[in-house]
């Protein structure tokens, strides 16, 4: 159970709550928060689809959307690379005569207004949901503080996306992110156990666990402790949760 959240996490959550109160469509808020928090010109989030490849979920502005469309068209770019390698990607000088990265994407992205682009994978352990991509209209690397913030934003975005997939109401997501521990070994162990119990991916298992918590006004942590203690299990025959 979280008791203390760090300043930077609280700053993200405060931005998220502000977004909810000013309206704005669902996932779009997450991208607007991401751009503002990391101090970049724009942000986009794309999610991995089952067929392979990424599908755009939100963008903070039209340029960010265009950049994601370009990645989709050319099959290359910071989001694609971050997602496929599960590692952070940085291109601080996008428009440069010596750059040979992304031969199709780079000039088109430059024409759209980007001068530096960054990609961060959205991963919770081995569950990789997609990527957060950032762009800036001036060249240059992220500062140390901006890079730390971008990693944190990616981690929060991954958890927020999972919460949305589990059916959390939009305005409850910020509260939910504060409440649950950032690292809770029982939750991750339980996801592994449920994936075997239900013959599903660990990602689907984590979503199912979260959904069951929402439906029962409980937390993932509380349910996870019971699952690990073999006090609660997922029954694949009925797709229901059972005691013992």
């Amino acid at each position: 159970m979280r008791i203390v959240a760090t300043d930077r996490l609280l700053a993200i959550l405060s931005l998220m709550r502000k977004q909810v109160s000013t309206g704005g469509e669902r996932g779009g808020r997450l991208c607007t928060v991401a751009a503002e928090f990391t101090e970049q010109s724009g942000a986009g989030i794309a999610l991995a689809s089952e067929r392979g490849g990424l599908t755009s979920m939100c963008a903070s502005n039209s340029v960010a959307q265009r950049l994601m469309d370009l990645e989709d068209t050319f099959g290359e770019g910071p989001g694609v690379d971050a997602s496929s390698s599960s590692a952070a990607i940085e291109e601080a000088e996008l428009v440069s005569p010596t750059s040979s990265r992304w031969l199709a994407y780079s000039p088109a992205a430059g024409a759209a207004g980007a001068r530096a682009v960054f990609g961060f994978p959205l991963c919770i352990g081995a569950i990789c949901l997609g990527a957060l991509s950032l762009y800036r209209d001036r060249p240059g690397a992220l500062t140390d503080a901006q890079a730390s913030d971008a990693y944190l934003m990616a981690s929060v975005a991954a958890r927020a996306v999972l919460a949305m997939q589990a059916g959390a109401p939009q305005d409850a997501i910020a509260d939910e992110l504060v409440r649950e521990a950032t690292f809770d070994f029982a939750v991750h162990q339980a996801a592994g156990m449920v994936s075997v119990q239900g013959s599903m991916s660990v990602g689907d298992a984590l979503v199912a666990l979260r959904a069951h918590a929402f439906a029962n006004d409980s937390t993932s942590s509380e349910l996870a402790v019971r699952i690990v203690a073999r006090d609660l299990r997922y029954d694949p025959a009925t797709c229901e949760w059972r005691d013992g």
């Binding site: 760090t6 996490l9 590692a87 940085e90 569950i127 690292f183």
Partner: protein, 245 residues
């Protein structure tokens, strides 16, 4: 084995691993094991700073729930948090209740049989990136030599995390820390699958991941990742470490 020999072989083993098949969780687990063997402590573990600024558990000499739980509590309060914030060691803290500094941590640690705790910062060029946490089941001060050895092992841990690069490149450090933290999550996910598939407990599940990795000369996190994504059967892991031929 005499302590010097143990330390020398530890350093050689770690130097080897830095070059060959480096796995940060495995290296820090070995380090934690060696702390318990070389100095007068009963449990050891490493916590690292997340990008958000809080500490997260990454490796320990014991995977039993009772020890892991103590590291989980220390994301919020405890000797590691204090040590990390100040960047200075915490030595010979006897655990007594009530404890105003650590109201959740101390009673739990005592109930798990620990009487004193020490914490050494993982520091490189003025930046603290985590902490090495040591527990004893007995009271009494830490031997002065033990403190030096522990700090030395903590320094080795820090270098291991940075993979022996000499320059403190900020973006590299962020990458390495993020990678280490995420690797621990992968291992927990894999432990869950192994435990459920084979009905062994979580502690044994970790042992199997490790034995399998060693026997097949694979990285620990790579094995865990394969178990999670299904390319390696959770039921098909080697259960014990095979002796080197």
């Amino acid at each position: 084995m005499a302590r010097e020999s143990l330390l020398i072989s530890t350093l050689v083993e770690l130097a080897d691993s830095l070059v060959d098949n480096f796995d940060v969780i495995d290296v820090l687990t070995v380090l934690s094991d060696r702390c318990v063997e070389a100095i007068d402590v009963d449990a050891a573990g490493v916590m690292l700073a997340s990008p958000g600024g809080e500490l997260q558990f990454v490796a320990s000499s014991s995977e039993s729930m009772r020890v892991l739980e103590l590291f989980q509590i220390q994301a919020d309060e405890g000797p590691c948090v204090d040590c990390f914030k100040d960047g200075s060691p915490i030595i010979n803290q006897a655990l007594k209740v009530p404890d105003m500094r650590w109201p959740r941590f101390t009673p739990r640690a005592i109930s798990q049989g620990f009487q004193s705790v020490h914490c050494l910062p993982l520091r490189l060029r003025g930046r603290t990136i985590g902490a090495l946490n040591l527990f004893r089941t007995e009271q009494g001060p830490f031997d002065a030599d033990d403190v030096i050895v522990a700090q030395g092992l903590a320094d080795v841990a820090t270098i291991a995390i940075l993979q022996h690069r000499t320059s403190l490149d900020a973006s590299l450090l962020n990458d390495q820390l993020s990678n280490a933290l995420n690797s621990r999550i992968i291992i927990e996910q894999a432990k869950g699958k192994v435990s459920q598939s084979t009905t062994c407990d979580m502690d044994q599940a970790f042992g199997r991941l490790r034995s399998h990795a060693r026997n097949h000369n694979l990285g620990l996190t790579a094995v865990a990742r394969s178990v999670v994504d299904g390319t390696l059967d959770a039921n098909g892991l080697d259960q014990v470490r095979k002796p080197k031929s």
